[in-house]
């Protein structure tokens, strides 16, 4: 019985984990609210991207804390469940990388082909409807001849 998971930790560990999670969550919010122009010496990277990376990095730390402590992966003798959990992220990483290999590289051969055709987006429609409330009638779309 002694090797059952979830036994070894103290109740204090739980509280510390909780505090750490709150701090990290707070950190994510703070980073996202931080004004961009105040960071000097970082003009070599798009700051929006950098922020995103930092925020998702913090999220990853939080996830490893939750899985390690609250879900008890850290205390297991057999690492099987950890392998299962990491397997998830491996497969998801492959999913995003390969799908991005498509979406991120479309129009490589004929860049000009990537322009969208004319379609009426619900956003435009809504904007037009709001405009039309005052202007009476909805004007027809100008004809857009195909190529």
């Amino acid at each position: 019985m002694e090797n059952l998971p979830g036994h070894t930790y103290d109740i204090k560990v739980l509280v510390r984990v909780y505090v750490a999670l709150l701090v990290l969550a707070g950190g994510m919010v703070v980073v996202s609210l931080a004004p961009l122009e105040n960071i000097a010496g970082l003009d070599w990277i798009d700051l929006h991207v950098l922020k995103g990376l930092v925020i998702f990095g913090l999220a990853t730390i939080m996830v490893s804390i939750v899985s390690g402590f609250l879900m008890g992966l850290r205390y297991e003798k057999s690492k099987l469940n950890t392998v299962v959990f990491l397997g998830n992220f491996a497969f998801l990483a492959l999913f995003i990388v390969f799908t991005w290999a498509d979406i991120g590289f479309r129009g490589l051969v004929y860049p000009s082909f990537e322009e969208q055709l004319n379609w009426e987006s619900p956003v435009d429609k809504a904007n037009k409807a709001h405009a039309g409330e005052s202007e009476e009638a909805e004007e027809a779309d100008p004809e857009t001849p195909a190529h």
């Binding site: 082909f113 990537e114 055709l117 004809e143 857009t144 001849p145 195909a146 190529h147």
Partner: protein, 315 residues
């Protein structure tokens, strides 16, 4: 017409058909070798080691042989890597059109093709000159289709909302079928067209004539409307002679009151027909599905007028 059709592959009529067929042929012989090897061994073993007495046991228990196992891991690996490079080279060649290619726009819709030439007219068959790289820029107005010319070994999915492309260079004159290979509904298998490869001079002449005809030159509006009827693929769903189809027939349509699915009815006048062509779902005739693709931005005003004139003649 001479033909290069073989047992496995259709006739060849484009520059890269030969490379594709070569890769196919190479692989065919490789696979035939392995197939014969495996089936031959199995047959031999089954006959040679057949059980003759019920209690007979195996005559040996070879369960492991590193050399054998490594060889049939590594040899297939080397072969498939070779195949990968052959396929990749051929593929990039098929994807990247030469810079002197002429562009023709292809629009797929349920269930017809139209080919829009830069000269400002469109046609229901693809007419191209021989020995001239042609780049097709394809798009769809409704669902996925796929543009396939077996003789050219050329294929590309036709995607609504964006462009996709393919190119080819025809190596000989003739007429070759064009097929839709991505399932697109009721008449998916009737979504056929043809590519007509002409000599350069013939092509130039055709181009001139077609451009003139597209303007309705020398035709009455009703005659022009009749050509639009087939060129724009109206004939896929609407019959001119009262035959039932996917859409309502055009015979006797003009000036009648049309019952709509929403319970109201509307007079079939010019405004109604124009609206039905540009934005079909707004006025669907009772008893029919709202499946017609909108022609807004595709069809010109003159063509609409011609179609209206044509419908007026169908009494």
């Amino acid at each position: 017409m001479e033909t290069t059709k073989t047992f496995w592959l259709p006739e060849q009529a484009s520059t890269f058909a030969d490379a594709v067929d070569w890769a196919f042929g190479l692989y065919f012989w490789i696979s035939l070798f392995f197939f014969a090897l495996i089936i031959g061994l199995i047959t031999y073993f089954v006959l040679r080691y057949a059980r003759k007495r019920p209690e007979q046991m195996a005559s040996g228990q070879m369960i492991h042989n590193t050399m054998l196992e490594l060889s049939w891991t590594i040899i297939p690996l080397l072969i498939v890597m070779g195949l990968f490079f052959i396929g990749m080279r051929g593929y990039w060649h098929m994807r990247v059109a030469p810079s002197d290619a002429v562009t023709i726009d292809v629009v797929g819709r349920k269930w017809s093709w139209s080919f829009d030439y830069t000269q400002g007219f469109s046609n229901d068959t693809l007419v191209v000159p021989v020995h001239q790289p042609v780049r097709l820029r394809v798009t769809s107005t409704d669902v996925l289709h796929s543009f396939f010319i077996p003789a050219f070994r050329a294929k590309a999915d036709v995607i609504p909302g964006r462009y996709h492309s393919l190119w080819f260079e025809a190596t000989r004159t003739g007429v070759f079928p064009v097929l839709c290979t991505q399932y697109c509904g009721t008449n998916h298998s009737f979504m056929l067209s043809a590519v007509k490869v002409l000599e350069r001079e013939e092509y130039d002449e055709w181009l001139k004539g077609a451009a003139e005809a597209a303007g309705g030159g020398g035709m009455t509006p009703a005659e022009f409307g009749a050509t639009v009827y087939t060129k724009r693929g109206c004939n896929a769903c609407h019959s001119p002679d009262g035959k039932p189809g996917i859409g309502p027939t055009w015979q006797g349509l003009w000036g009648k009151s049309r019952p709509l699915t929403n319970g109201s009815s509307v007079l079939a006048d010019e405004a109604y027909i124009r609206q039905s062509i540009l934005e079909p779902p707004t006025q669907v005739v009772a008893g029919f599905q709202p499946i017609m693709p909108p022609y807004k931005g595709i069809i010109s005003d003159r063509e609409i007028e011609a179609v209206i004139a044509y419908i007026q003649t169908l009494k």
